[in-house]
Each structure stands twice: as structure tokens, then as C-alpha cells.
């Protein structure tokens, strides 16, 4: 193993890890101004990680080292989580400053969680994937309860922690049985050994292990029926962390699931395709129906994020190594979803001001006071619904056309029907913004912070640009290989 090359390839995240520890020490050394400095260091390190990942992507290195395998897909995943974390850090500064909670450890935890995601995305060994998931999640458990003087924050953190740890136990049991039956935890070796294992006498134990791993991942991506924690955790957590959970954590889990599923699901056969079919259908239908009944914007977006996980799962029943268009569809969808969800949560953070949460009524009159914010929110919501010419439309288009090509027509019909239902709850805030008068005049006094405007602007431009020229983004995804 060439250590210099290894260090070079992991350099983006070594920088982030270093920044995380620096920020942590800074908190003990600096009395005043630690908040702004720690935010600046976090932002710089994440931008550096984004830039270096991009450089790796351009250089197009494909190599397996120890428990990690690098390729363009890995680097693309790194870029997605770097962008999502940059959004979270930008959004956090103003949010924490308003609540006088600007502690450096907050940023340190975000950076640590990102390092966990990076190893989760690059991992080609089940143990590293487990450790990546844990490093990612343990930091987010603490962040979800960061508003520790609020009972809602404590409750969110406790629920997220208990269900998360419960899910890890399932994932781990699955890994133990896969290890026991195949004598390896390396995914590449595993893929080669699958035929012998499946015809051997340990096959049923192996299938049990795969099922447990699937349950573990289903908890992490909040697929129905393992979704019960998500609305509560999303609602009670600080809004920037809700954004982090909905974008970065979910994207990283999906990247890992793609890597784990492509060898396992393929070999295991039609029984599992059926299970994933049911998982996907239940997730999008229940996510969309429950979102219909929400007045709280954060809860609505939580259920919407469950529904979107269901759409992404549409590709999984027919996934195999011979279907690159399905993998690309999922990745394209995840990128689109990251931008529109990050933007929506930025608007929610603005609308809630000092409050604990934001109801639909909070955005009433937004169009008059802050026409650009209202216009951006409209674009984000239209994109989430899937109207052309936004990025969300092309995300759905590439995902579903790939799925139809591979024969899951029934599932795509269900997905289209349930996304028609979703139009109702996505369009409601738009109506409230443009046609309702604001009640308390909360929005009059506050003007959005520069960093918040930056998040909204970047997400807005990305959605419109890639919505009008989707082939640019599709080319990047397609050139990333499998």
C-alpha cells in the first residue's frame, strides 16, 4: 500500500479533521470571538475539501487501498457532502448568534460528522462502513440536542439517539452474519464469493445477514416503516442541523447503500427486489400522505424528505452492475434533492426568527417584505414537487425513466401519483406567502443575514442553472462511472 498516495487521496478530509480539532482547542483558548473564528475555519476547511475532491475527480484516480476504494463516484459523493456541510455551516452562524449559543464545539461536531460521512462513502469494507455510520451519527445525536435548555431539543436528541443506536445493532448483526457466512467483510471479495455462498448450506444465514443490514440502512435513510423517529428529530433539532440531517446525512447513507446494495441485492434475487419494491412504495405513499396533514414547516419537510427517500428507492429493486443509468439516476436525484432541501431549510430558519419552530403561517406576507426570499422559496418548493424547468423535475425524470427502462413500471406509476399528491402541501406555503397578510409582522423587523442569503442564492442559482441545462450535471454524474 502506497501511503503517500493514500494520504494524498484522503487529504481533503484530513484537512477537515485537523480543522475540527483546531476548532475544539480554540474554544478553550479564546474567550471572545471564538464563534466567528471557528465558523471561518470550518468554512475554509470544507471549501478546501470541496476543491481537493474536485481536483481528485478531475484527475480520475481509480484505486483500492486497504478498506477504502477511491474512484470518481467516491469523489462525487465527497463533493456532495462538502457542499451540504458548507450550507449548514453558513446557516448556523446567524442561527446560533441569535440564540447566544455560538460554541466552537458545535462546528467541531459538524466537521467530525463530515469526516465520518467521507469514510462511509469511500469504505469498501463493512467494518469501515459501520464505523463511518457511527462517527457520522454520534456527532449528529449530540448536535440534535444542541439547544440543551429546550425540552423539545432534548426530546429530539433522545429519540434520534435511541432509534439510531437500535438501528446500528441491526446493521452490526447483519455484518456479523455476512462475515460468518462469507468469511470476509470486504465488499469486492464478497461480490466474487456470492455464487458459492448462495449455493452452500449457509445461504439462509447469509440472507438473514443481508436483511439485517438492509433494516439498519432503512433506519438511517428513514424509510417506512423505520421512519417514526424522523419527524420528531427533525422538528426538535436546531434548523441548520435539521438541514444537515436531511441533506448530508441522507446523501451519505444513500451513497453507501448504493455501494453495499449493488453486490448484495443483485445476487440475492427476486425476493429482495419484492422487499425493496414494498419499502419504496410504502415510503413514498406514507411520507406524502403524512406531509399533507402538517402545519409545521419543519415537520412537513421531514415527511417530504421521507417521501423523497422513497423516490430514490424506486431505482433499487432492479439495481445491478449492468444498470449504470439507475445508479446515475439516484445520484442525480440526491444532488438535486440536496440543493432544494438545503434552500428550503434556509428559508425556514429565516421565517422562524427567534422562535422554536416555523408554521406555515410564519411565511404569510413574505412576498411583500422579502420578494426575493419568497421567489426563491417558490422555486425550491416547485423543484421539490417536480415542476419543469427546475432541477427537481429532471431529477425525477432521469430516475423514473431509468426505472421504466428496467421494468419497474408499476412503481414509477405509484411514484408519479404520490408526487401529484405532494403538490398540495408544497403549493400551500406559496399561496400563504403571496396571498395572505402577515399577522404579527415578525418578518418586518428582521432582515436576513448575509450567510443565509448566500445559502439561498447558491441553491437558487444551482436549481435554475441545472434545471435549464440539466445535461451539464448529468454529464458530471455519468462520467463518474459506477
Amino acid at each position: 500500500m502506497n501511503w503517500f498516495q493514500f494520504l494524498g487521496l484522503t487529504l481533503p478530509w484530513l484537512i477537515v479533521l485537523g480543522a475540527s480539532l483546531t476548532v475544539l482547542f480554540l474554544g478553550t483558548l479564546m474567550k471572545r470571538g471564538a464563534h466567528a473564528v471557528s465558523m471561518a475555519i470550518s468554512l475554509l476547511s470544507l471549501v478546501a475539501a470541496l476543491f481537493l475532491s474536485w481536483q481528485h475527480w478531475v484527475a480520475d484516480v481509480t484505486v483500492s487501498m486497504g478498506m477504502m476504494s477511491f474512484g470518481r463516484m467516491t469523489f462525487l459523493g465527497w463533493m456532495v457532502i462538502a457542499i451540504a456541510s458548507i450550507f449548514t455551516v453558513l446557516l448556523s452562524h446567524d442561527y446560533l448568534a441569535r440564540r447566544k449559543l455560538g460554541h466552537p464545539e458545535y462546528y467541531s461536531l459538524i466537521l467530525l460528522s463530515t469526516v465520518g460521512m467521507a469514510s462511509l462513502i469511500a469504505g469498501s469494507h463493512l467494518m469501515l462502513i459501520f464505523l463511518g455510520i457511527e462517527v457520522m451519527s454520534i456527532a449528529v445525536y449530540a448536535l440534535a440536542g444542541f439547544l440543551r435548555h429546550r425540552l423539545s431539543g432534548n426530546e429530539a436528541a433522545l429519540k434520534y439517539f435511541l432509534t439510531g443506536a437500535f438501528a446500528s445493532a441491526f446493521l452490526l448483526l447483519g455484518i456479523a452474519f455476512i462475515f460468518g457466512t462469507t468469511k470476509t467483510m470486504d465488499l469486492t471479495v464478497l461480490a466474487e464469493q456470492l455464487p458459492t455462498v448462495l449455493s452452500g448450506d449457509m445461504a439462509s444465514w447469509f440472507l438473514f445477514g443481508v436483511a439485517m443490514v438492509l433494516i439498519g440502512f432503512a433506519f438511517k435513510i428513514a424509510a417506512v416503516p423505520f421512519h417514526a423517529w424522523a419527524p420528531d428529530a427533525y422538528d426538535g433539532a436546531p434548523t441548520p442541523i435539521t438541514q444537515f440531517m436531511a441533506t448530508a446525512v441522507k446523501a451519505a447513507a444513500f451513497f453507501a447503500l448504493l455501494r453495499v446494495a449493488s453486490p448484495l441485492v443483485v445476487a440475492v434475487g427476486p425476493g429482495w427486489a419484492k422487499t425493496l419494491w414494498l419499502l419504496s412504495a410504502a415510503t413514498m405513499i406514507i411520507g406524502n400522505l403524512a406531509a399533507l396533514m402538517q402545519d409545521n414547516l419543519k415537520r412537513m419537510l421531514a415527511y417530504s424528505s421521507i417521501a423523497h427517500a422513497g423516490y430514490a428507492l424506486v431505482a433499487f429493486p432492479t439495481l445491478s452492475t449492468q444498470t449504470p443509468e439507475l445508479v446515475h439516476g439516484v445520484i442525480f436525484y440526491l444532488i438535486a434533492y440536496t440543493f432544494m432541501t438545503a434552500g428550503s431549510f434556509a428559508i425556514v430558519a429565516f421565517a422562524q426568527g427567534q422562535g422554536e419552530s416555523a408554521d406555515v403561517s410564519h411565511v404569510a406576507g413574505l412576498a411583500k417584505r422579502h420578494p426575493w426570499m419568497a421567489a426563491s422559496f417558490t422555486i425550491f418548493l416547485l423543484s421539490l414537487t417536480g415542476f419543469p424547468p427546475t432541477l427537481g423535475f429532471f431529477g425525477k425524470y432521469f430516475l423514473f425513466s431509468g426505472a421504466i427502462k428496467n421494468g419497474s413500471i408499476g412503481l414509477v406509476v405509484l411514484a408519479l401519483l404520490s408526487s401529484a399528491v405532494s403538490a398540495y402541501y408544497y403549493l400551500r406555503p406559496i399561496v400563504v406567502m403571496y396571498f395572505h397578510e402577515s399577522r404579527e409582522g415578525v418578518l418586518e423587523r428582521t432582515s436576513p443575514a448575509t450567510s443565509l442569503v448566500a445559502v439561498v442564492t447558491i441553491a437558487f442559482l444551482a436549481i435554475l442553472y441545472f434545471g435549464i441545462f440539466p445535461s451539464d450535471l448529468l454529464a458530471i454524474v455519468q462520467r463518474s462511472g459506477m
Binding site: 423539545s152 432534548n154 426530546e155 436528541a157 433522545l158 445493532a169 468469511k183 426538535g236 396533514m293
Partner: protein, 101 residues
């Protein structure tokens, strides 16, 4: 009677199930947390049994990782429970119903 791999796996799965039932049935956050630890230790038994049976060290190394992760989880989890207790002196998850709808 010799003790075979199947016996260990049976023990592991029984322990795992007891832990799982504990998480679902009990309402005390600390007991739920202990049940989760029981599930993780059940997995450790499975790892060790498989490792011994196949003669590979990987399973034993995995147990160390699991122990380390369980310790980190305990640190954060108990911290969350303490923070909760300061705001509302209860450890029963049924008393937490702020987030609903």
C-alpha cells in the same frame, strides 16, 4: 455434547431478541439504552463465534471496534439523558410528548 457454532449463534440471537423486546416494551430511557447494549453484546458473541469457527482474526478485531463505538454511544447517550433530566426530571419516554403531529 460438544458446543458447536450453532449453540453460540442461538445464544447470540436469543440475547439479541431479548434486547430488542426490551427496547420495544420498556419505557425507561436508561433501560432501553441497556437493552441496546445487550443487543450489541449479542452481536459480539456472534462475531467471536464466527471468528473462532472460521479461524479468522477479523471477527475479533471487529469486536474491539464495536466495544469502542458502544462506549462512545454511551458517552453521548447518557449526556443527552442528563441534559433532559435537568429540564424535566423524568427518564420515561412516555412523558416526552412535545413533538407530535
Amino acid at each position: 455434547m460438544t458446543i458447536t457454532l450453532q449453540h453460540y449463534l442461538f445464544l447470540s440471537l436469543v440475547m439479541f431478541t431479548i434486547g430488542m423486546v426490551g427496547v420495544v416494551v420498556r419505557r425507561n430511557a436508561l433501560i432501553i439504552f441497556m437493552s441496546i447494549e445487550l443487543m450489541l453484546n449479542a452481536v459480539n458473541i456472534a462475531f467471536l463465534a464466527f471468528s473462532r469457527w472460521s479461524g479468522l482474526m477479523e471477527g475479533q478485531v471487529a469486536v474491539f471496534f464495536v466495544l469502542a463505538v458502544a462506549a462512545a454511544e454511551a458517552g453521548v447517550g447518557l449526556g443527552i439523558i442528563v441534559a433532559l433530566y435537568r429540564n424535566k426530571p423524568t427518564v420515561y419516554v412516555d412523558d416526552l410528548r412535545l413533538l407530535r403531529g
